[in-house]
Amino acid sequence: MIPKRRRSMSENRKSPMNRQKRRTGRRHPLATVALLALGLVFTGGAYAAFSTGTAQAESSANSQQTIDEGKKLFQANCATCHGLEAQGTTEGPSLIGVGAAAVDFQVGTGRMPMQMQGPQAQQKPVQFTDEQVKQLAYYVASLGPGPDIPADHLTNGGGDAANGAELFRINCAMCHNVAGAGGALTEGKFAPPLTDVSGVHIYEAMVTGPQNMPVFNDMNISPEDKRDIITYLKYVQDNRSPGGFELGSIGPVAEGLFIWIFGLGSLVAITVWITAKSN
């Protein structure tokens, strides 16, 4: 933890320079447009080239095979609850039309296959390799259209953190806490901390609304705004608090306990020491 901390501190120190550059670039309206265009062309082009060149070619070549593999995995691991054709049973909902994103999220964060019934599916160590997760995802996606696994440029944290922070406070903080430290909901449900979720999973959580979380579709929050939210959460994940240890970022309760136990506790110990008989 300490080396990580050091690294982020030095990044902190460097960042004003980066910002300076960015700011001067931004001031020129044309520069912004040019940059945007360039960025779009570049990322779009690269993405297209990449996906057509390799992934797409591969997955189209393997696509039926991928789906078949996924189906096998599904029937072995998920069918007891979701049904052999993912049509749903009394134990679990139908997955037709939930899309690849839902499966990638649920399986990729270790929530599915669900282990025990409870107020909320618990996260466990992920049980499948990345490849198997994708196979499952594309199998379920083949059953009906639904949200897809998001593209990399939306989830790599390259957006506007300030806009993201504002959106996060308005849309998410009431459940997840402003610093993404998590919070309680009713009846034993809770919004988990967002301190080590990947950008892809954040995006997928928003578009699929797992369990007690609402769905934020593209009408509520546009893909670019989602990217900004991810940027903010990444910023919080990568930059530890400038004030020192965060005490869990859960606010005044942790601070109060800390001052009573460690602050006042240590001072009481010192008073005992001061008044101890000196002989």
């Binding site: 922070a165 009431m174 919070g183 809770f190 001052i259 602050g263 001072l267 008044t275």
Partner: protein
């Protein structure tokens, strides 16, 4: 130096010359001598008040620094400091200047954190100090007024804390003010008017930060300083209480004199408190307003809580079951707000008046300078325990959501459990504490009469095994037997031959206080006891 020697006929050190100079102009020597000879009994718990005092000094010093940079204005600006995730965000000048203190002013974040940590410590130390005073009966005559002064200080400290918490105008402080606004509006008839008066219009308005700032840096600190001064004057006038011990009489105070040892220790202790706070402030984040962002009435964060000392009030609001609000005579009656306010108000008044209540029940007009051991005043100790349980239940309720997430419980379960703690807990605590105190007193009696078990088993010539009990030494015995007990007051008709309601009440209370009691060992018993011990 050479000038000093030419001025004074005989050779004097610089310090001596300086003190003479000062004394000739202020006659302060007598005062210093008198104060310096005051004895200060040595017990760790007698230093808790000093922790509070020193924490307050740290609050004053760090707060002064902050006033140089904080701007109490609610005018809107676009933040342009160095914290990236807030760049360009619209916020009040108050918030922006607090962010500048945190990120762009050298040492600002450290001082800000020190100020806030010291404030938390200040109130916590007052709380612990008050518990010490309560449980040792140090509030009895002649110190009742000083208890009241101390209690007022506690409330002022909470007010200081709350006004400070609200100044940065971030989401958290705004949410706190929104709750206060709701509470004020909960008062029937006058609520809405009062709210408009306080906020200068519809909440949140644009005045509140400036007004709170005046309270926070001018009015409240002046009151705190004045009351602290009064409090200390009374401590000197009354002498310090002390625990029973040989040579310690109600009329004296035994301990090292204030000068030089005690003063040196206390001076050193200030730097220790300062150091501990500096360490905490440099290592641990407090109130990261940059996470909360500017106040905006729509979002509320999960885990929104007040600072710990306001927690009991927040908890009281959370524990009220839903639906205690109804419309009658075209008005909304918010019992969900009035009931907690009244409950807390009654609790505070009872605690504030406790010295007078206890003296009245006992019919006790004597002065008391020897601190009670808590077990020797079982009813008082039990009342204290009940009060602490009540307060602690409310306090815990302020973190009901965190209790739920951190211990994998349901919110509803936590709330119901804490409702039980707040309502039934005090009775349970009262009963258990009283029994424990009485049991401890019985044990003390045993020890005084029969000595303590030495663990040495001896076989008598007749074949019988006994454990040898060692008698106590004189000092220890003195500590155990010197306390006062009271008997329940008798109901006697007054001069007109009547028994008034007040007297009945008093006799009833007195019976409740003293019906179970363990009297201290008397001289006679002691001698008899010595005869029979093995």
């Amino acid at each position: 130096m050479s000038t000093a020697t030419t001025n004074a006929p005989q050779k004097r050190s610089f310090t001596a010359a300086a003190s003479v100079y000062v004394n000739e102009r202020t006659s302060i020597a007598g005062f210093v001598k008198e104060l310096g000879r005051k004895a200060f009994p040595d017990h760790w718990s007698f230093l808790l008040g000093e922790v509070a005092l020193f924490a307050f000094v740290v609050v004053l010093i760090s707060g002064t620094f902050l006033t140089f940079f904080f701007q109490a204005s609610m005018a809107e600006v676009h933040y342009n400091g160095s914290y990236v995730p807030l760049k360009g965000v619209e916020m009040s000048v108050a918030m922006a200047s607090t962010l500048d203190i945190s990120f762009d002013i050298r040492g600002g974040l450290f001082v800000r954190q020190m100020h806030h940590w010291a404030a938390l410590l200040f109130v916590a130390a007052i709380g612990l100090h008050m518990l010490r005073i309560f449980f040792t009966g140090a509030f009895r005559k002649p110190r009742e007024l000083n208890w009241v002064i101390g209690f007022v200080l506690f409330i002022l400290a909470m007010a200081e804390g709350f006004t400070g918490y609200s100044l940065p105008d971030d989401l958290l402080s705004g949410n706190g003010l929104a709750i206060i606004n709701g509470m004020i509006k909960g008062f029937p008839l006058v609520g809405t008017w009062m709210s408009f008066l306080l906020f200068g219009g519809e909440f949140p308005g644009t005045d509140i930060v400036g007004r709170l700032y005046t309270l926070h840096i001018l009015l409240l600190p002046a009151l705190v300083v004045a009351f602290v001064a009064l409090h200390l004057v009374f401590v000197v006038v009354h002498k310090h209480t002390q625990y029973a011990g040989p040579g310690k009489t109600p009329g004296n105070a035994v301990g090292p004199p204030i000068l030089p040892v005690y003063a040196a220790k206390a001076g050193g202790f200030f730097f220790i408190v300062f150091g501990v706070l500096a360490l905490i402030a440099s290592l641990f984040t407090i109130n990261p307003i940059w996470n909360y962002g500017p106040y905006d009435p729509s979002p509320v964060s999960a885990g929104t809580q007040p600072d710990w000392y306001i927690g009991f009030a927040d908890g009281a609001l959370r524990l009220i079951p839903p639906g205690w609000e109804f419309v009658w005579l075209d008005r909304t009656w918010s019992f969900n707000i009035l009931v907690p306010i009244i409950a807390i108000g009654v609790f505070i008044v009872l605690a504030l008046m406790y010295p007078f209540i206890e003296a009245w029940v006992k019919g006790d007009k004597r002065e008391h300078h020897i601190a009670d051991r808590p077990r020797n005043a079982p009813t008082r100790t039990a009342i204290g325990a009940a009060g602490v349980t009540f307060y602690a239940g409310l306090w815990a309720a302020a973190s009901s959501d965190l209790l739920a997430t951190h211990f994998s419980l349901t919110m509803e379960g936590v709330i119901h459990a804490l409702q039980a703690v707040v309502i039934l807990g005090p009775f349970v605590a009262y009963f258990i504490t009283k029994r424990v105190c009485i049991a401890l007193q019985k044990k003390d009696r045993e020890i005084v009469l029969h000595g303590f078990e030495s663990g040495r088993i001896v076989k008598l010539p007749g074949g019988e095994f006994i454990e040898v009990h060692e008698p106590l030494d004189e000092y220890e015995r003195w500590r155990l037997v010197s306390f006062e007990t009271y008997e329940p007051l008798m109901l006697r008709p007054n001069s007109r031959g009547k028994i008034t309601f007040g007297q009945r009440l008093r006799a009833g209370m007195s019976r409740w206080f003293f019906e179970d009691r363990i009297a201290p060992v008397t001289k006679g018993e002691l001698e008899a006891g010595h005869g029979e011990h093995h």
